[in-house]
Amino acid sequence: MDLIVPSSGLIFWQLIGFLALFYVLLKFAWKPMLAALEERDGSIESALKAAEQARNEMANLKAENEKLLAEARVERDMILTKAQEASKRMIEEAKEESIKQGALMIENAKAVIETEKKAALTEVKNQVAILTLEVTEKLLRKNLSDQASQKELVDEFVKDLKLN
């Protein structure tokens, strides 16, 4: 048989064989297989879509959570700052108050001391006066008994006066 001349018998059988193969495969292989493949493609696609949706939802939730968290953080910071300010103010106030109190107490104490001092001085003066009187009295009683000593005393006084 020739190499490059197609023989009619083989063309005939090839045509029949190939068309029969095509028909049987079309009916019993390609149709069910392609249908199954398409169905699976569809289900995979829808599953992917669902997964994508779920992912989006998750992302939304996460974003919301983060937003809430950020808000809470801001609020906390605000509260903390306020508290700090308040405590600072209170400390400041307390300090001022205590300084004021202290000053007042010192002043009071000074006044008391002054009064006490004055009272004590008055007392001392009184005591001195009394003592002086008593001494004077005793001296007078003793010395005024003789004339000489009286004169001496007077002289002494006079001398003192002059010296003064």
Binding site: S8, Q14, G17, L21
Partner: protein, 346 residues
């Protein structure tokens, strides 16, 4: 790359063929051995009997049915055994049976010289039936998986064929044809697997050169031609007979070129597959023939290594040619069904 290898192997095979036939022409005169060109051609061409191998002088063959039709005699059925020498298995005019003979070139003829048509189930027809049986076995068992389990992950044979089916559907059909691809996927799948499995089984020792037979590639190309032109839309025909954007003066030339183009496309399909597969077989057989020509152990070892190497390339070629045949078919169909924009160039 493969194109280069292919071209090289064709060139090489042609060189080898001329070389070996010359050597053998000389050798056969002195020693009376077998003609290697005949040996190679015998393996490549179709035959009325399926010859496997010889054990000593005994030919191990499968006799095939010979079916003839003559207008005056009607259909007749014989066995290839009826037309050959029972010892040497040679066909020839001298072994005519019932007024019909098969000559030594495997041509059927009538002793009285009247018309007779050969519808024999030749070696290639038997091979085709074998290929079809293998394909049916693979795909019917794969399809049963989907029938039983529905659209779940594939298992077993289905998981082997599924990626290929998806490849043909998505990479060949959808990309080349466009939105209307679905209708053509079954034809493209059948074509791809017929050519591919035919190529692969043709590489088996003793197998027939089915997809390297021009009648087979002719039939496949004709089917592609019919499908392409039956599905051609208005744009496609307008493109052929009133090519848009071409000056009127040039139109007669362009229309002739376009019209010839309708036929050169399937012709190229036919020749490409035929040449690629036949050349591969010739190269392999040439290397085997070298062993018997030189009758040397060194040549035997080298030839065996080369045959192994070429066989691996042939595995690649088998797949590439199936892909290319399917891809070009899809592209021709794509060109026929595409909706062209009206300002399209060309």
């Amino acid at each position: 790359m493969t194109r280069k290898i292919l071209a090289l192997s064709v060139l090489f095979s042609v060189m080898l063929l001329s070389f070996t036939s010359a050597t053998f022409a000389a050798g056969s005169e002195t020693e009376g051995g077998e003609d290697p060109t005949g040996f190679i051609m015998h393996h490549i061409k179709d035959s009325h009997e399926w010859h496997f191998f010889n054990v000593g002088h005994t030919h191990v063959t499968l006799p095939l049915p010979v079916i003839t039709y003559a207008p005056d005699r009607g259909l007749e059925f014989y066995s290839s055994k009826d037309f050959q020498n029972p010892e040497t298995h040679k066909f020839g005019k001298e072994y005519a049976h019932n007024g019909i003979y098969i000559d030594d070139h495997d041509h059927l003829g009538r002793v009285d010289g009247a018309a007779i048509y050969d519808f024999s189930l030749t070696k290639n027809v038997a091979m085709m039936i074998f290929v079809i049986a293998v394909i049916l076995y693979i795909f019917l068992s794969a399809a049963s998986h989907y029938k039983k389990h529905g659209a779940v992950a594939p298992r077993g044979i289905a998981s082997w064929v599924e990626p290929i089916i998806i490849f043909v559907r998505d990479e060949i059909a959808e990309k080349s044809i466009g939105p209307k691809y679905k209708k053509f996927v079954p034809y493209l799948l059948t074509l791809f697997f017929f050519v591919w499995i035919g190529n692969l089984l043709g590489l088996l020792p003793g197998a027939a050169n089915l997809t390297g037979n021009i009648a087979v590639t002719f039939t496949l190309a004709i089917l592609t031609f019919i499908i392409t032109n039956v599905n051609g839309n208005k744009d496609y025909w307008k493109h052929v007979f009133a090519t848009p954007g071409v000056p009127v003066a040039l139109l007669p030339i362009i229309v002739v070129v376009e019209f010839i183009g309708l036929f050169t496309k399937p012709f190229a399909l036919m020749v490409r597959l035929f040449v690629a597969i036949t050349a591969g077989h010739i190269v392999i057989l040439s290397f085997i023939a070298l062993v018997f020509i030189f009758e040397s152990y060194t040549i035997g070892v080298v030839s065996t290594l080369m045959v192994t190497f070429i066989n691996m390339i042939e595995l690649l070629v088998a797949t590439i040619q199936a892909y290319v045949f399917t891809l070009f078919t899809a592209m021709y169909i794509g060109g026929a069904v595409a909706e062209h924009a009206h300002d399209d160039h060309h």
